[in-house]
C-alpha cells in the first residue's frame, strides 16, 4: 500500500478538523494512507467527540480559548505548544472498536524517538505499577477533563508525566488516528508538563544514555524553541513513516499531489466551525 506524508501549515481548529476529515475520506476512497503533522494557528481547546461542552467549565485556564470538537474520542486537549498528527488508513466495514495495532505502531515509534533524544519515555503499560502509585486518584485519571490527565495503556509517559496520547475514529471506510505530543507547558493548561520542563538528566538511564546527543536544546535557550519544535515535528513524521514501511509495508511519498492539495484547499469548515457541531453535547 502507498500514501502520503506531509507537514501542514498551522490552521485554526475548525480547519484542522476539516482537513483531517477530508484526508480520512481520501484514505477510504482512494485506499491510501495519509500522515499529516501540524500545529494550530491559535491556542485552541479540542474536545473529545463524546465530551459535553459544559464540562469545559471544569478547567478555567482554558476558558478563554476557542473550542472545536474532534471526531475522535478521548479527553480535551489544549493545543498551544504541541505537535498534532493525524494518520488516516483505509478501513474495512466489518472492523469495529479500537485498532490496538495502530496505537502500538505509532506510539512505539515515538517512544524510540524520545528515548533517542534522551528522555526515559515509555508506554504507560510499561510502567503501570509506578504510574498507579503516582495517580492518587485512579478514578480521576480515567475521567479527567483533559486528555493529558488521563491514562490508557498506549499513552507515552516520562516518569509521571504523560507527553503523548492518541485517539481514533472509524468512518467513511477509513480509520483516523489523532495524537498530540506536548512540547511545552501552556499558560492555558499550566498543570501539564511539556518536554521542555522535563529534566533529561534525571531521566537518563543506561539504555538511553548512549544514544543521547546535545542537538535537542530542550528548555535551554528560549530563542531556539522554534528550531527544536520544527525539528521534532519532522522527526515524528520520519519515525512514523519508517514504522509504517517496515511493519506494514506501507510506503509514504513526501508531500501531497497537487490535485489533492487543490481539492483540500477548497475544504470548508462549515461543519467544525458551527455551534451545532461543537455544542452538540
Amino acid at each position: 500500500m502507498e500514501g502520503y506524508c506531509y507537514i501542514d501549515r498551522p490552521r485554526c481548529g475548525s480547519m484542522n478538523m476539516a482537513v483531517d476529515q477530508f484526508l480520512a475520506r481520501l484514505a477510504g476512497q482512494q485506499q491510501v494512507v495519509v500522515l499529516r503533522l501540524y500545529q494550530w494557528s491559535e491556542p485552541t481547546l479540542s474536545l473529545g467527540y463524546f465530551q459535553a461542552i459544559r464540562d469545559r467549565r471544569e478547567h478555567s485556564p482554558s476558558l478563554p480559548l476557542p473550542l472545536v470538537r474532534r471526531t475522535t474520542g478521548g479527553g480535551a486537549i489544549v493545543h498551544h505548544h504541541d505537535w498534532t498528527y493525524s494518520l488516516a488508513i483505509p478501513d474495512r466495514p466489518d472492523r469495529i472498536g479500537p485498532s490496538t495495532s495502530l496505537y502500538e505502531l505509532v506510539h512505539d515509534a515515538l517512544v524510540r524517538l524520545l528515548c533517542d533524544r534522551g528522555f526515559a519515555a515509555q508506554k504507560w503499560s510499561g510502567c503501570a505499577a509506578e504510574s498507579h502509585e503516582n495517580n492518587a486518584n485512579p478514578e480521576k485519571a480515567c475521567k479527567s477533563f483533559l486528555c493529558f490527565e488521563r491514562r490508557s495503556t498506549s499513552d507515552i509517559v516520562i516518569g509521571k508525566h504523560k507527553v503523548l496520547g492518541s485517539a481514533q475514529r472509524r468512518a467513511s471506510g477509513a480509520l483516523l488516528q489523532h495524537g498530540s505530543l506536548l512540547l511545552r507547558t501552556s499558560d492555558f493548561a499550566p498543570s501539564l508538563i511539556g518536554l521542555d520542563a522535563i529534566d533529561r538528566s534525571a531521566c537518563l538511564n543506561s539504555s538511553t544514555a548512549s544514544s543521547t546527543n546535545d542537538t535537542f536544546p530542550v528548555g535551554q535557550v528560549a530563542g531556539q524553541a522554534v528550531d527544536w519544535e520544527c525539528d521534532l515535528g519532522r522527526e515524528m513524521a520520519q519515525r512514523i513513516t519508517s514504522a509504517l514501511r517496515h511493519q506494514w509495508n506501507v510506503t509514504l511519498a513526501h508531500g501531497l499531489p497537487e490535485s489533492i492539495v487543490s481539492e483540500l484547499e477548497m475544504t470548508s469548515d462549515h461543519q467544525f466551525g458551527t455551534a451545532a457541531w461543537n455544542a452538540k453535547r
Partner: protein, 131 residues
Amino acid sequence: MDPKDLKYNPTHEWVGIVEDCGEKIAVVGITDFALEQLTDLVYMALPDVGKQVRAGEEFGEVESVKAVSPLYSPVDGEVVAVHSELVDNLERLGTDPFGEGWIMKVRLSSSANLDGLLDRDAYLKQCSEAH
C-alpha cells in the same frame, strides 16, 4: 432472543423481527463478538424516537479506548423505541447482548433488505475469517 434466530449485518449489528399489533417490528442490537472487539465501552449515542433509519446507514455511535465507532442500521424504517437506559448502564450490553442489550426497535418500512443479511453461521464464519 436466540442468536440462532437472528439476522446479522456484516458490521456486527443483529436484528430480530417481532409482530406487534400486526406490524413488523425489528429489534436491533450489537453482537457479543462486536462487544469483545470494543472492550471497555464508555459512551454510546442513540437515535431519537421517530427518526427514519435506512439499512447500511449510521444510527448511533460508541466509544471505547478513545476510539469512536459507528453503528449501522440493518433495516429501513422508523425508530419506535430506544433503550435509553443503556447509555448509563453499558454493562448490560455485555451481560445480555441479545436480550437486555437491545438498542432500538424499528417499525419496518420495507422487508426487502432482510434477505441480504447474514444468518448466524455465515456471521460467525465472517468473524472467524476476519480476525
